[in-house]
Symmetry: C2
Subunit: 327 residues, 2 copies
């Protein structure tokens, strides 16, 4: 069933049928007859042919490191939501945290005529930078704040600043379990937030007991064991992610200490696990879903060519501190 068949059945030209779908001057008389035939035959124009002719695919490429992470999955959910509203389709690329794959997907997606790309959870490298610069279709980055690239990101620093201040109300000897510092947002900025709060409280940031771990429960667990062994005085642990926090809680409990009586602890993310641990975890809620939705909206603007090309858009998302029992 092609546009030709419909045209023939309706007794009009293919141009008329095309105009029926895409707008263009068309008499009511023809509009009606075409509508009738189209509905009777349940005809839908062939998407591939349209893409081929127009150069627009109706597809938005989404590049994500992993799907089995609560935060990415939530952002994806937000993206899917919003993409559907503008009647586009999501094309997925999973990089498995491999930098080459990220670049491969960007190039691939450009070639297969995606109308836009959303790039999630990555860090900048020279190669990525040139790829981004070369890329001819709009790209939005989430979770990070890259110079010159439209992005939607969290206020990591302020969030950590706030939660650290909360911790400092009752605690003095703080340890920090951070994310890899190559990750500007989750690594560097979160640590800076902690340090800022510390300094403001008159504590030299040099004295902060800071470790870097790897986002996992096990990583948090092992790191906490180290801390417990060599820093007996620690009475508050700030973690850059919930999972690491939960790993740390395991280690603390294993050491026979009570949370929060002996040691307080905080995370970031507001995962569902936070509600089922005992005590429940005090954490900062980041608006993941909103992040995905916003990314699509931003991209949509770019795709429509709305935004002034000089005005690179950035959106910084808010956050909430969720106080539970762990502090």
């Amino acid at each position: 069933m092609t546009i030709k068949d419909i045209a023939k059945m309706a007794g009009v030209s293919v141009a008329a049928v095309s105009r029926y779908f895409n707008g263009g001057s068309l008499s009511d008389e023809k509009r009606e007859i075409i509508q009738k035939i189209v509905e009777e035959n349940n005809y839908v124009p062939n998407a591939m042919a349209q893409t081929m002719r127009t150069g627009k695919s109706g597809n938005i490429g989404v590049i994500v490191p992993r799907l089995d992470s609560e935060s990415f999955a939530q952002i994806m959910a937000g993206i899917a939501d919003e993409v559907e509203k503008i009647n586009y389709t999501v094309i997925l690329g999973v990089t498995d945290n491999k930098k080459e794959k990220e670049i491969y997907y960007i190039e691939q997606m450009e070639k297969s005529k995606m109308d836009g790309i959303i790039l999630m959870g990555t860090y900048m490298t020279p190669h990525l930078k040139t790829t981004l610069e070369k890329c001819s279709i709009p790209i939005v980055v989430t979770g990070q704040h890259f110079k010159g690239v439209p992005s939607v990101f969290y206020d990591d620093k302020s969030a950590m600043y706030d939660i650290t201040k909360l911790m400092l109300k009752s605690r003095k000897h703080i340890a920090f379990i951070g994310a890899p510092s190559i990750d500007r947002a989750a690594g560097k900025m979160r640590k800076e937030g902690v340090e800022k709060a510390l300094e403001e409280a008159g504590i030299d940031k040099k004295s902060l007991i800071a470790y870097e771990s790897d986002f996992t429960i096990d990583g948090g667990y092992e790191t906490m064991k180290k801390i417990l062994k060599s820093h007996k005085k620690v009475d508050g642990v700030i973690c850059a992610t919930d999972r690491m926090a939960h790993g740390a809680m395991l280690a603390i409990r294993e050491a026979g200490k009570n949370i929060p009586d002996d040691i307080s602890i905080t995370g970031v993310g507001d995962s569902w696990g936070d509600k089922i641990s005992s005590p429940q975890l005090t954490t900062v809620q980041l608006y993941y879903k909103k992040c995905g939705q916003t990314a699509v909206n931003l991209l949509w603007g770019l795709m429509k060519g709305e935004s002034d090309s000089h005005l690179i858009s950035k959106v910084m998302l808010g956050y909430s501190i969720i106080e539970r029992g762990s502090v």
Copy 2:
């Protein structure tokens, strides 16, 4: 940069260049010159034009109810893995648990020339049945076992049978928090597994205290409160999913009872939360990732037309019982 340009530069016909990419008789001489030109210009054939001409898109459609669920995300991860290996691309459709959207996506994907479809986590309805029958491209269903539809599913019944037997070693008065029975796999089959173990132990299945809940932590929590109120003797709770189990644990703890001394509890899924609750949750591990991978492989066979059309393929996945502290 089109095939025409390449042909001109190489001094051959477009047919030759096409043969270079797709196989077809071609002299070594031409093959070399074409290769040279292609590499120099970094030329890649336009995917849309290929689809248009061949009717094959290189795309596999994946329809999923939600992304922000650990199990679906894991299956997706497995799918993405495997799809990449066969050099296909994933097109995503999120139904938000809406039946109409499911059908909409199936039809849409058929029209936009997906080469295959994977349909996740759904239940059968008459409308879905006819849609499936009408659909001209291969479809694989995961997590459910539908008659006449190729599917990859878990051995839900045996899994529940096993974990119930484990529970029965030390407990007598069992309650069951189930999933909606409209869901054949997670609802009906899991309950049947529990019942089978009960009967085998000489307990009338009619006496099973069985409730239906909704997959959520809150659902588990509320249901458990009801049980605690009206069935004081219950000393073992079997839950159809981890999240409901965690909700139930909250309610049990809140009632001042100890797990597992007063009440034992089990879940299904082996979520990461199971390791951080106290006690850790005894559960059955389903191989989600493997499920996704298998679904792609099965689909791939179907797509290649390998499988005899009379021989509808089914794959039943194994499971493991993970014993932790909650029993």
